[in-house]
């Protein structure tokens, strides 16, 4: 039993729903009690989809448990087939139905429907959402993949794009970018799976020359299967960041036998120049903490270091299936990876790493807000803000532009706050001044009651208990002159310095002694 205040991933059947909802002509019959229908709102409210997910829930109740839940399941399958006439169906159980062991696969098979019915075994007490999505895509591909390649001299090179799903973090926009790159290279896309494809489309997967796996968490298993049965090579380089995109273009062009030059010519991304321009100097060695799914966390670590000049002081993922890769990447930065799905562990790791920027999920955004740190969101779990109205990819050269803006803006906001603070003594600024972007007439916001009432106990268990040396008034005053975004670090470092030397009082001298000792 695990105490969970917040979860990064849903149960595995949510992953299956992400596949089913991405596709057309597929229906999912889920043996589940009524409460599980909440999952619809993930798609209709968070992603703002205009139709219900193609899912029928059996919604059995306690009184049915003594009777015949198997019959309820069979009725649901038969009625769903009659109403929706899908090309294929997937059937399975959620956590509760798994316990009553009705065997959805066998029950559906007994109905002898004239379409493929693919049973899913998604162990709800062991696995999670991304695994469920991966397993579902793999099962569908295994059951339905077909098609043959025509000779290459009669056509342009052809590839499949595997991985984009419903409720995926920027999958919609990534797909546009990657398709654009492929088109410029003269490569045609055979099938995109699962987003927008039909079961019949899966029957044409074999016609492609190779597969592009955009999100390994979701599509690696399917890609490996296709490699085995059709001998299709697989590109697994995730084109997030300038260098990764260039590598991706090279690999894809090599497999397709085309010239990558047209795509790489000129300056396809603004990131390299923006990063080299002198105004970006202040980004050097910014301490950054990174946490997310494996794909996005790994990419972020590489971009942060080699494309923006940050220093990675923390790296982690909740994707345990990719812990090995993330540990290896962390080792390159001389740190130990945080592999956990307990957000309290992540919060503690962030506090310990003392970053100046957090790149994380929505949960780390809240942690960063509590700690007063700038933050940008780089990964699911998904939030309504992750479906912006504008085009906002992570992948490709445009994706790199988006990342530069998204990660650097929070730091710039911090700088502005600092400048405001510096001028605080000037006539038009004073301690009660509200941020200028709010315009006149805005009172400073009261702290939210909930947060105010609850934050202390939440933090009580995390703060390292210690008896800090007391601050002399002039030292405290000097501390306030330090930019607020490094002030916390200066305070902790000075207190640590004083503690280690058993100094009872922190003076201005102590402050600068500590600064000299620890360096920047």
């Amino acid at each position: 039993m695990q105490l969970t205040l917040w979860t990064y991933e849903g149960p595995p059947h949510i992953g299956a729903m992400r596949i089913a909802t991405a596709m057309r002509g597929l229906h999912y019959v889920l043996h589940a009690p009524q409460g599980d229908t909440y999952a619809d709102l993930l798609f209709t409210m968070i992603e703002r989809r205009d139709a219900r997910p193609p899912v029928t829930y059996t919604t059995f109740q306690a009184r049915d448990l003594g009777a015949d839940t198997a019959a309820i399941f069979q009725t649901a399958v038969a009625e769903a087939y009659a109403r929706f006439r899908p090309e294929a169906m997937i059937v399975g159980a959620s956590c509760t139905a798994e316990l009553i062991q009705d065997d959805p696969g066998g029950l559906a098979r007994a109905l002898d429907l004239p379409i493929p019915v693919i049973p899913l075994e998604l162990p709800a007490y062991q696995k999670k959402e991304n695994w469920g999505a991966s397993e579902t895509l793999y099962r569908l591909v295994r059951a339905l993949a077909g098609g043959t390649r025509t000779p290459r001299d009669e056509r342009r090179p052809l590839c499949n794009l595997l991985g984009p799903t419903a409720l995926g973090f920027r999958h919609r926009d990534d797909l546009v970018e990657v398709t654009k790159i492929l088109a410029t290279l003269g490569i045609d896309v055979n099938v995109v799976a699962p987003l927008g494809c039909t079961p019949a489309d899966l029957g044409r997967l074999g016609a492609a020359d190779f597969n592009v796996v955009l999100y390994p968490e979701i599509a690696r298993a399917a890609g490996q299967h296709l490699q085995k049965i059709f001998g299709q090579p697989m590109v697994e380089t995730v084109p997030i960041g300038v260098q990764a995109t260039i590598r991706f273009v090279g690999e894809v062009a090599a497999l397709a036998g085309v010239d990558p030059a047209p795509v790489l010519a000129g300056a396809p991304s603004r990131l390299p120049w923006y990063s080299r321009s002198v105004d970006s100097t202040y980004l050097t060695d910014k301490r950054v903490f990174i946490f997310g799914d494996a794909t996005h966390a790994l990419a972020a670590a590489r971009i942060a270091t080699t494309e923006l000049g940050f220093r990675v002081v923390g790296l982690g993922t909740y994707t345990r299936e990719f812990a090995r890769e993330v540990r290896a990447e962390a080792a390159l930065h001389g740190i130990e990876a945080t592999i956990t799905d307990d957000y309290l562990d992540v919060e503690a790791a962030i506090q310990a790493a003392q970053p100046e920027l957090v790149l994380g999920t929505q949960m780390e955004r809240h942690v960063a807000k509590r700690l007063g740190l700038p933050c940008a969101v780089i990964s699911a779990p998904i939030h309504v803000q992750d479906f912006p109205a504008r085009h906002s990819p992570q992948m490709g050269f445009e994706g790199a532009n988006v990342l530069f803006d998204t990660w650097v803006h929070p730091l710039m906001m911090g700088l502005e706050e600092h400048l405001l603070g510096m001028f605080r003594e000037d006539a038009e600024f004073h301690a009660e001044a509200t941020p200028s972007h709010l315009g006149p007439g805005h009172a400073p916001p009261a702290p939210p009651a909930e947060a105010a009432g609850q934050a202390p106990p939440a933090e009580a268990g995390i703060h390292v208990a210690a008896a800090p040396a007391s601050w002399a008034p002039d030292a405290e005053k000097e501390l306030k002159k330090i930019p607020f975004f490094v002030r916390g670090k200066a305070r902790t470092n000075t207190e640590r310095f004083a503690r280690e030397r058993a100094l009872p009082l922190i003076t201005v001298e102590t402050l600068y002694d500590a600064k000299a000792h620890f360096g920047r």
């Binding site: 979860t7 409460g35 619809d40 209709t44 306690a62 316990l99 162990p123 709800a124 007490y125």
Partner: protein, 425 residues
């Protein structure tokens, strides 16, 4: 005026029928989202699966800013395979939780579908843990499972679990009034003022804002239900001697007046005094409602089943706002508690208890209502088909009861229509 007298359940001109099939509703765990804010020193620990954790997180406005006073003890394969003793595991989790949150005075162990199917005895676990943490923390249990409870029934189960903890009122105690059902604090305060002005001195609310402030219950306690989904709680309170006052629910001017009058009559408040005390509220409600009547009059309204608030809301929309009711779906219909409401609905109102989702959606599409009240999962798909919707969960999170919220309630329904009229894109 006999609205407070127990009405025979069939005294209604409504056309009531039942439907079975696929449902699109939340389970009772969802109630935690508002209950944890109401009972300020209580913590809700769901004993369930990752699905339960994901549901509460998704229902709670998707993301949580401060550390919330709810969590899930996620059952894993070790618990199921018997490798770990589920009770020992639960004790360990609760210990860790109480160490982290020493401010907790009342801990609810909330049963879920998986915990019920594997027959984890949370009542016994609560007793055991209560002994362990006595006197600092009281531990109670209830079921919010989707196989037992629908959405608001979670609150019913939670409040019913509090009833045995309530002190016994002395047999000689003066008559007292107990208002049952979670209300926003601001609404509770308004009602407390009104009861005081009416001259009803001894008024208490269940749930109380603090775990240690549970009101007493006895043969002289009169029960006034503030929410229409409290079947088990009312039964438990009646078993302890309380006498339920039949009343409509305090939604809209008429509902609020009927609800207050049920209490006033039971406590012998003279009718002219009642009229005087309520005059200002009734007038303010009338003024506020008039602002929205043009927007809602003659609008055709369709309710999907969700919170059990549907029947009183339909009564309000029909009688006070002049809307036409196409279909009033409700997950359950408590015929006795709802009798005063059903008596007020227009003859021939289609009331459907239970759900068969696809068939109901077909009826809704065919009827092309002007406004559809439905759950979060259905709202955008129906909007995309050109139907204006009001998502019903907002009716639980927003203060809507009483005279001074009657206008807010009308506005909730008017807003989607106003928005549609406003937008030109």
């Amino acid at each position: 005026m006999n609205a407070h007298a127990p009405l025979p359940s069939l005294q209604t001109g409504c056309d009531i029928r039942q439907e079975r099939g696929q449902r699109a509703v939340f389970c009772g765990l969802t109630g935690i989202v508002w209950l944890h804010r109401k009972i300020q020193d209580a913590f809700f620990l769901v004993v369930g699966s990752r699905t339960c954790a994901h549901l509460v997180q998704s229902a709670a406005g998707v993301m949580i800013f401060a550390e919330p006073r709810f969590a899930t003890a996620i059952i894993d394969e070790r618990d199921l395979a018997g490798l770990a003793d589920a009770n020992e595991e639960l004790d360990r989790v609760v210990r860790r939780l109480i160490e982290r949150r020493p401010d907790i005075r009342l801990l609810f162990l909330v049963g879920s579908c998986p915990s019920e199917v594997i027959k984890l005895d949370l009542a016994r676990a609560a007793q055991r843990l209560s002994r362990t943490f006595h006197p600092d923390v009281r531990v109670l249990s209830y079921s919010g499972s989707g196989i037992e409870t629908t959405f608001t029934q979670g609150e019913d189960a939670c409040l019913a679990a509090l009833v045995p903890e309530m002190p016994k009122a002395a047999a000689s105690a003066a008559p007292s009034l107990l208002v049952v059902g979670a209300l926003a604090d601001v609404v509770e305060d308004q009602f407390a003022r009104l009861f005081a002005q009416l001259g009803i001195a001894d008024v208490a609310f269940l749930p109380a804002r603090r775990a240690g402030e549970l009101p007493a219950i006895g043969a002289n306690t009169r029960l006034l239900l503030a929410q229409p989904f409290l079947a088990d709680t009312a039964r438990a309170l009646e078993a302890r001697g309380g006498i339920r006052l039949a009343a409509p629910f305090p939604l809209g001017q008429e509902g609020t007046t009927g609800w207050l009058r049920a209490a006033a009559d039971a406590f012998g408040v003279p009718s002219d005094h009642f009229a005087r005390v309520t005059a200002a509220g009734r007038a303010r409600a009338a003024t506020a409602l008039a602002l929205y009547r043009a927007r809602l009059a003659a609008k055709r309204v369709f309710f999907f089943p969700d919170s059990q608030l549907e029947v009183p809301l339909a009564r309000f929309l029909s009688r006070e706002m002049g809307a036409d009711l196409i279909e009033v779906g409700t997950p359950y219909l408590h015929r006795q508690h709802m009798a005063p409401e059903l008596a007020l609905l227009p003859d021939g109102t289609q009331v459907v208890e239970g759900q068969n989702l696809d068939a109901q959606m077909d009826r809704c599409r065919a009827a092309r209502p002007d406004l559809t009240i439905c759950g979060l999962g259905l709202a955008n798909p129906l909007e995309a088909e050109g139907l204006a919707t009001k998502w019903s969960i907002e009716l639980l999170f927003t203060p809507i009861q009483g005279y001074d919220q009657a206008g807010d309630l009308a506005e909730l329904f008017a807003r989607p229509l106003k928005r549609r009229a406003r937008l030109e894109v």
